[in-house]
C-alpha cells in the first residue's frame, strides 16, 4: 500500500482507506510508521482511533465482527460500533471507547484519536 497524503489547512493527512472499503458498523486497521490506527464507519461518519485497546492490546478494528455460530447466541457480533453514542466496544471484553475523545469512562483511561476528513471517495487521517 503506497502512502498518499493531502494538505488541509496546512496540515498533512494520510489516506487510510476508501469509503466503500469500510462497511457501516465495521472498521479496518492500518499501520502508519508503526502506529496502528483503526478507522470506523458509524452510520456514514468516519472516525480514527488507536487500534489497540489499552486493556489487553485487542485489535479494535475487529469490533462488530460476526461471532462463530452467531445464530446460536443472543447478540450477533463481537463488540461493535454504536453510532448513536459515538463509541466502539472492544471485541474481547467490551471496553467502550468514545470515538471522538478516546476515553473509556469506567477506567478513566484514554487512547489516541486522530482527525479524519473525507475527500471524494477517500478517507484521510492526521497521524
Amino acid at each position: 500500500m503506497s502512502v498518499e497524503t493531502t494538505q488541509i489547512d496546512g496540515t498533512e493527512y494520510t489516506k487510510v482507506a476508501e469509503v466503500d472499503e469500510i462497511e457501516n458498523g465495521r472498521g479496518i486497521a492500518v499501520e502508519i510508521d508503526g502506529i496502528e490506527v483503526a478507522v470506523f464507519n458509524a452510520d456514514g461518519e468516519f472516525y480514527a482511533i488507536s487500534n489497540r485497546c489499552s486493556h489487553q492490546h485487542a485489535p479494535l478494528c475487529k469490533a462488530g465482527e460476526k461471532k462463530i455460530n452467531a445464530d446460536h447466541t443472543w447478540t450477533e457480533s463481537r463488540g461493535g460500533v454504536n453510532a448513536e453514542e459515538c463509541t466502539v466496544s472492544c471485541p474481547w471484553h467490551l471496553w467502550e471507547w468514545d470515538l471522538e475523545t478516546g476515553e473509556n469512562e469506567a477506567s478513566g483511561q484514554r487512547i489516541a484519536t486522530f482527525d479524519v476528513v473525507v475527500e471524494g471517495d477517500d478517507i484521510y487521517a492526521q497521524v
Binding site: I28, D33, K62, I68, H72, W74, R78, L94
Partner: protein, 379 residues
C-alpha cells in the same frame, strides 16, 4: 510525514511472534446447543424430565455476575459458540493457539439439585464430546461428576482409555473439598490412566443464605475472589490430608481459581505446618497408614502436583514486579496458559509477547505456554 503504511491482517489478533511459539490452551470451552445435547441423553425418563417445561428454575440461582457485563449473560458467548472441531480451529487461528484442550463447559451442573438428571446431562455431554471432538482429533478434557463418585468411575471406565482424551474435567465449589477420602478411587483411577484432574470453577458460588454469600453483590467479589478462595481451600485440603503422599503421580489443575495466591499459600502452609504438625497423624489417610507427618514440605506438593491456569493473567505492568511475582509463584513449575474462550474473561496470549517478564525469559514463557501442559496431559 508518514513514510510507510500497510493494511493490517484482520485475521490475526495477537502479536506475530505468538505464531512462532507452541501454545497449548488448557481451557477452551465448547457449547453444544441444548437440542444437540438431548440426542445424547440415553435414559428416556431423564430425557422426559429434562425436556418438560416446569416454569420457574428449580432452585434459586446466583449469577449476579451477569449484571456487571454490558451484554449480561451473553457475555458467556462474547466470542461466539463452538459446536464442532472446525469452529474450534477457526477460533484458535485468531489467537495463535496450537493445541486447545476443549471441554463441554457444563459448569452449571454442580449447583443443580437432582443427581440422576445431573448424571444424565454429564454423560450426554461426554458422548457429544466423543463424537464431535475426540473422534475429530481435538484433545479433550472429559467431565466427571464430583457429586457421585460411582458415576465418575463409571464414566472413566467408559472412555478413560480413548485416544484423544487428554484430561479429566470436574469442578471445585464451596461444598466438600477434594481432599476428602471418598475421592480416593477416582485419584487411583486417574493415576492408572495417566490423566490429570482439571478442576474448573463451577457456578456454585459462595453458599446462598449465608451472611457473606448474600452480601456479595458484584462480579469482582463473586467471580474475582470467591473462586480463588475455594481454589485455595481445595489445594490446601488436598495437600494437608495427604492426597499426594498416597497418589504422588496425581496432577491437579485449577482453572479460573486465580494464580497470584500461590506465594501466600506457599509460605503460609510451610510456616503453619512446620510450627505445629502434630494433627497430620490424625487425618484419615495418615491415621490409616500409620504415618506421622507429610513426606515433604507442603509447598513442595504445590510445586509438584498442583497447577493453576493463568486466565485472566492480570500481570503487573512493571516487568520487574511481574518477574518477582512469577518467581514467587513458582510459575515455571505451576502456571499453565488458558484462554477461557469464548467467555467475557477471554485471555489471548498477548502478555507473553508484550511484557519483558516473558520476553526476556524464553524458558519461563515456554513452560507456561506449553511445556507444563505437555508434561502432564495425555497427548
Amino acid at each position: 510525514m508518514g513514510s510507510s503504511i500497510q493494511r493490517l491482517d484482520p485475521d490475526r489478533e495477537v502479536p506475530e511472534e505468538a505464531y512462532d511459539v507452541d501454545v497449548v490452551d488448557m481451557d477452551f470451552h465448547v457449547n453444544p446447543v441444548e437440542e444437540e445435547l438431548r440426542a445424547y441423553v440415553e435414559d428416556d425418563r431423564a430425557l422426559d424430565r429434562l425436556t418438560t417445561e416446569f416454569g420457574m428454575w428449580p432452585i434459586p440461582d446466583k449469577w449476579d455476575a451477569a449484571y456487571a457485563i454490558a451484554e449480561g449473560n451473553e457475555g458467556l458467548f462474547t466470542q461466539g459458540r463452538a459446536e464442532d472441531a472446525e469452529d474450534v480451529r477457526q477460533a484458535c487461528e485468531k489467537f495463535a493457539i496450537d493445541e486447545p484442550i476443549v471441554n463441554c463447559a457444563l459448569n452449571m451442573l454442580p449447583h443443580q439439585h437432582h443427581p440422576v438428571l445431573k448424571n444424565a446431562v454429564l454423560e450426554a455431554g461426554n458422548s457429544y464430546m466423543l463424537d464431535h471432538f475426540v473422534d475429530e482429533g481435538v484433545p479433550t478434557a472429559m467431565s466427571i461428576a464430583k457429586w457421585d463418585v460411582d458415576a465418575a468411575l463409571s464414566e472413566l471406565d467408559r472412555w478413560g482409555d480413548e485416544d484423544g482424551v487428554a484430561a479429566v474435567y470436574s469442578w471445585f465449589d464451596p461444598r466438600e473439598p477434594w481432599g476428602v477420602e471418598k475421592f480416593d478411587p477416582v485419584f487411583e483411577k486417574l493415576e492408572d490412566l495417566g490423566l490429570p484432574l482439571i478442576l474448573h470453577g463451577s457456578l456454585a458460588f459462595w453458599p446462598q443464605h449465608s451472611y457473606i454469600g448474600d452480601e456479595m453483590l458484584t462480579w469482582t467479589e463473586v467471580l474475582g475472589l470467591d473462586w480463588p478462595i475455594h481454589g485455595m481451600v481445595n489445594t490446601v485440603n488436598m495437600i494437608m490430608r495427604g492426597v499426594f503422599d498416597r497418589y504422588p503421580d496425581l496432577n491437579v489443575v485449577f482453572q479460573e481459581a486465580g494464580h497470584w495466591w500461590l506465594p501466600f499459600v506457599r509460605y503460609r502452609m510451610d510456616e503453619f505446618y512446620e510450627m505445629h504438625p502434630e494433627d497430620i497423624q490424625i487425618t484419615p489417610r495418615k491415621f490409616e497408614d500409620g504415618e506421622h507427618y507429610l513426606e515433604k514440605a507442603p509447598s513442595e506438593y504445590l510445586r509438584e502436583n498442583i497447577y493453576v491456569c493463568t486466565q485472566p493473567m492480570a500481570l503487573p505492568r512493571r516487568a520487574g514486579e511481574a518477574k518477582s511475582l512469577l518467581n514467587l509463584s513458582m510459575a515455571q513449575d505451576t502456571f499453565m496458559y488458558s484462554s477461557d474462550w469464548p467467555h467475557q474473561t477471554l485471555d489471548p496470549p498477548t502478555w507473553f509477547f508484550t511484557s519483558r517478564a516473558f520476553r526476556d525469559d524464553e524458558d519461563l514463557r515456554n513452560a507456561v505456554l506449553h511445556q507444563n501442559a505437555r508434561d502432564i496431559l495425555r497427548l
